[in-house]
């Protein structure tokens, strides 16, 4: 399943989204919101700038009359997300972007199990979505900070992505896409999945990965061999682990279990920034010590690539 689709989109949530700023912003960026699902509001419409959007009570009602819908944006409250997502999958949708964050981890476990069984892609939870500058907005990232170009940004935190995008733009490097994985403790899509997609994306010429140090688990994957295979794509790859200069977090005494944490990755594990950096180093991926270095590293890598190309 392709990670990104620019086709029709469903939005799931409660009536708050009808008066918020997210829907107008999504539409204004060129996204085709085909339908909205809000329980109890079926039959009414949302007056968007590009015309009225029908509201349904159930996902299946929407997908029945609009089978071309491929993606759903889920804004439901945290404890209702699992149910909304399961409903979406049952309604035939195979691409879920879960905007709401703070989902109970056991709910995420259940959702991802169902997703795996049905071949469904889940981005998030807590994802600010996907933004293609001057293209499409599938989420709530701020388009203002981004400009079109060739650098893909994959991040866990969207304000950091916005900061990096701003500096890239200043350096003359626009962005092909900004994918936000979210910051919940268990995520549906990791950096690998994104790299798999980006390596074949014609718009993307370079990739910046923005991870963070005290995530307690690794979206980046600590397998340097796996990371290493993305090096020979012809697309420079730069990674930044936010917080890697922080002093190693002292383990809080006795939260969790001294014994259990030796056998499972409990959230109480201390910062693994060092582990991530080591894996990146082993895989010979370029590492930025701080975000402002990223544009320079990319420029240099692209220049080197150009040089080696022209020499051979």
């Amino acid at each position: 399943m392709k990670l990104i689709s620019t086709g029709q989109v469903l939005v799931q949530g409660t009536s708050e989204i009808l008066t918020g700023k997210h829907l107008p912003q999504v539409q204004a960026c060129g996204t085709d919101i085909a339908a909205i699902v809000i329980v109890g509001q079926g039959g009414s419409t949302w007056a968007g700038a590009q015309g009225d959007v029908p509201i349904f009570d159930l996902v299946e009602q929407a997908t029945e009359v609009m089978p071309e819908i491929e993606t759903t944006l889920i804004f439901n409250p945290a404890y209702a997300v699992l149910d909304a997502a399961l409903e979406a999958i049952d309604g035939g949708l195979r691409r879920l972007i879960v905007i709401t964050g703070g989902i109970p981890p056991l709910d995420i476990v259940r959702l991802l199990r169902k997703a795996k069984a049905t071949g469904t892609t889940v981005l998030g939870p807590g994802s600010k979505g996907i933004l293609i500058p001057n293209g499409v907005l599938l989420g709530i990232q701020e388009p203002h900070f981004f400009s079109p170009g060739g650098v893909a940004i994959v991040s866990c935190y969207s304000s950091l992505a916005a900061e990096v995008a701003t500096r890239l733009t200043k350096a003359g490097l626009g962005q092909s896409v900004s994918i936000n994985l979210g910051s919940d403790t268990i995520l549906g899509t990791d950096f690998h999945r994104c790299l798999e997609f980006l390596k074949d994306d014609p718009q993307t010429e370079a990739i910046a990965l923005l991870d963070y140090g005290n995530s307690g688990h690794s979206n980046l994957c600590l397998d340097s061999k796996l990371l290493g295979k993305y090096l020979n794509l012809g697309k420079p790859l730069v990674a930044y682990v936010a917080g890697h200069l922080l002093p190693r977090e002292k383990p809080i005494p006795e939260i969790g279990s001294v014994i259990a944490s030796q056998f499972a990755s409990t959230v109480t594990t201390t910062s693994n920034a060092k582990l991530k950096i080591n894996a990146l180093k082993k895989a010979k991926i370029l590492i930025a010590d701080y975000p402002h270095q990223i544009p320079d590293l990319i420029k240099k890598a692209m220049a080197d690539k150009f040089l080696t190309k022209s020499v051979s």
Binding site: G102, R113, T185, L245, G256, V258, I259, Q262, S265, P291
Partner: protein, 406 residues
């Protein structure tokens, strides 16, 4: 959120996981009304492990000894925590001690069963024989049996232990737990099972959907409360002199990296989550109060990259706060705060009174970026803040401010 042993055992009882008759002791005199026959074990109810070694677990044979032991345990802090409650439990005849646990593995994104035929306080022995079963599908009792057999338990224990593990798993799922550990799970000479200790960690995101746990959360004193709610200060170094406020953990961490790069000494950082203006207006002043208590704080760097409404709200709150503080501080410094001993004071008073230092208010470096232009207020006199557009400039201002002071 960590539950105390007696709270965990309450949940065990609800689910048919066997526990000993026990009684909650809130003060040593409660032992006069003890309903459990002696000998009895008194256990400090604190979050830490290693209570036995620290002297928080005592065996007593009569009321007088019990009251004395209780007094000493109440006055014993383990890992910085004094018990509010003790648990009195009947003694138990153990033939064998095993270890069982259910834990959520965040790397796998799956629950995991752990078990060791060697339970108890000798961690190395427990770890040596630890077995693991990953629950990668919908749970079914065969997973528990798999663990019991991997542990090498003798035939007649397999069924009762795996049934108990099954109950543990159901409790784990029902209450959104991250960790459920029983160490030791005692086996008596007659083959009966008994959970002698219980450790439960409830996932913080899920507490609000369990009313009974929400109550407990309100009651429990959390040493590290800063983990419980987002939007609270994360302490890095109490000797540090820079505090960072940002609206996004990634941006905050990146700001800290830049500060460490510039040889500054960050003390703590705060992530303002969410975009609800009311919530921000409510919490931010309290957070600012908290951080400005730090002794060595020189600079508070505020780095916000967000939507117009969030930036505007934060800006308004900070400006109001700074205006208020600036006015108060001017008044205080006008008053002589050194206490002068007078003849009428007793010697004791003179020794105790020390001149209290005038609170030093930190400088603020404000970098608030949003898609819409947010109007900045006019420059005011004595306004303890500088406004910066670019992050690199903000870092430089912060770092140079420290240098300037030296």
């Amino acid at each position: 959120m960590d539950l105390l042993e007696y709270q965990a055992k309450e949940l065990f009882r609800e689910r048919g996981i066997p526990t000993l008759p026990s009684q909650r002791i809130d003060r040593p005199s409660d032992l006069k009304d003890l309903c459990i026959p002696y000998p009895v074990v008194l256990k400090s109810q604190v979050r830490s492990g290693g209570r036995g070694k620290a002297g928080g677990i005592k065996f007593v044979a009569n009321t007088i000894d019990a009251i004395a032991a209780a007094s000493s345990i109440f006055n014993l802090a383990i890992m910085g925590e004094f018990p509010q409650v003790l648990l009195a439990e009947a003694q138990y005849d153990t033939e064998q001690e095993i270890y069982v646990a259910v834990v959520l593995d965040y790397q796998l994104g799956l629950p995991v069963l752990l078990g060791s035929a060697q339970g108890g306080i000798n961690i190395e022995k427990v770890v040596e024989q630890m077995q693991k079963v990953i629950i990668d599908q919908q749970f079914s009792p065969f997973y528990a049996r798999r663990l019991a057999i991997k542990m090498g338990l003798s035939g007649e224990l397999i069924v009762p232990v795996s049934q108990l593990i099954e109950k543990m798993y159901r409790l784990f799922i029902a209450k959104d737990l991250e960790l459920l550990e029983i160490n030791p799970l005692a086996v008596s000479s007659s083959g009966e099972l008994m959970a002698l200790d219980g450790k439960i960690t409830v996932n913080n995101q899920a507490i609000a959907r369990h009313p009974d746990l929400t109550e407990l959360a309100a009651m429990n004193l959390q040493i590290s409360d800063w983990r419980l709610g987002r939007g609270r200060w994360q302490i890095l170094n109490l000797e540090g002199n820079v505090a960072v406020i940002s609206n996004d953990e990634g941006l905050g961490l990146a700001t800290l990296d830049l500060l460490y790069q510039g040889k500054a000494k960050p003390a703590s950082y705060l992530t303002i989550e969410g975009d609800d203006p009311q919530v921000i207006a409510e919490n931010l002043p309290l957070d600012l109060d908290q951080v400005t208590q730090l002794q060595n704080l020189d600079v508070v760097l505020v780095n916000i990259v967000s939507t117009g409404s969030v930036v505007e709200t934060i800006q308004q709150v900070i400006i109001k706060y700074l205006q208020l503080r600036r006015d108060v501080t001017t008044v205080i410094s006008a008053v002589d705060r050194t206490e002068r001993p007078t003849a009428s004071r007793t010697v004791r008073d003179r020794i105790r009174s020390k001149p209290t230092p005038v609170p030093r208010f930190p400088q603020f470096v404000l970098r608030l970026v949003s898609p819409e232009a947010v109007t900045r207020p006019e420059e005011e006199n004595n306004f303890p803040a500088v406004w910066v557009e670019d992050l690199a400039e903000a870092i430089a201002a912060t770092v140079n401010f420290n240098k300037g002071k030296k």
